[in-house]
């Protein structure tokens, strides 16, 4: 993949990468921007090289995930608590301009429900439901076996559905 093609792919996938970086950075916008910037730097400078063994998107998500882990660890040195995909930490509560209050509340409820899952469960659900990946692709991004990803998916899905039901009832 040459430089022009690489840049075009990065730009096309940017909105999705942003969503994944947000998830990996515990919904902390500032940290997510740092993560994405560092990940782009790695890709554009050739430090991270795409070898064509998986889909480009899966590979790029893997780079973002590893970068987020490093950035979160570094950020943890300066402020106590928090970890990769820890959504209980710095959640940006402000919705976008074109998001209704009701929708913002539903989204906040989803984020809060996700916070009660394990990090693996959050990752696999985010990759499957938010990014439309298969469980096999999600396993590749997460660096776990397909069987393990499927187990996290099943448990996470049940847990999340139960929590959302509980919130909707109340």
């Amino acid at each position: 993949m040459d430089r022009t093609e690489l840049e075009r792919e990065l730009e096309r996938l940017h909105p999705e990468c942003w969503g994944w970086a947000l998830a990996c950075a515990g919904r902390d916008r500032a940290l997510a921007e740092d993560v994405l910037q560092t990940a782009y730097l790695r890709v554009l400078s050739g430090k991270g090289r795409y070898d064509g063994r998986s889909r480009f998107k899966s590979w790029l998500f893997g780079v973002i995930r590893l970068t987020a882990m490093e950035e979160v660890r570094r950020a943890d040195r300066w402020r106590a608590g928090g970890s990769a995909l820890d959504v209980s930490g710095a959640v940006d509560p402000s919705p976008g301009a074109d998001v209704t209050t009701e929708q913002a509340e539903r989204n906040a409820a989803l984020v809060a429900a996700m916070a009660n899952l394990s990090s693996r469960q959050r990752e696999v659900l985010q990759l499957v439901f938010y990014h439309g990946m298969t469980i096999e692709e999600a396993a590749g991004v997460m660096g776990v076996s397909v069987g393990s990803a499927r187990t996290h998916y099943d448990r996470g899905k049940k847990g999340l559905a139960a929590q959302i039901d509980k919130v909707d009832v109340t």
């Binding site: 990065l10 940017h14 969503g19």
Partner: protein, 131 residues
Amino acid sequence: MSDDELELRKRFAELRAEDEATAPAYANLRGRALEEANRPVRRLRWIAPTFLAAAAAVVATVWVMTRQPDHEARKQQEDASLGNSMNAVNWTMPTDGLLTSARRTLQTPALFGSVLDAAAVPIRGTPFKGD
């Protein structure tokens, strides 16, 4: 696809729409990434030689400090070992004197000599037999 899955898919789609509406521009992040790529290299150009020189000085100091006692200890060890080998060369058995007198007793006497010759003790200052 189950009802749960459909509901979750819908919920995540809403969250995704909100996230995408607030996403920073690609050009901004790309620009900052490229800026960042140039900055550490310039800084490293100055930092690297200074750091390497300081590290080399520390390593040399530590090496000299740890090596000096070693050198002295080795020298002392060598001296002691040389002394031991010299002692070994000059060492004689405590019973060596008995062997000497026994050897003299067992010696074949000279044709015109006396068996008492072996017991004869030379008097200092006077010529002895055969001298």
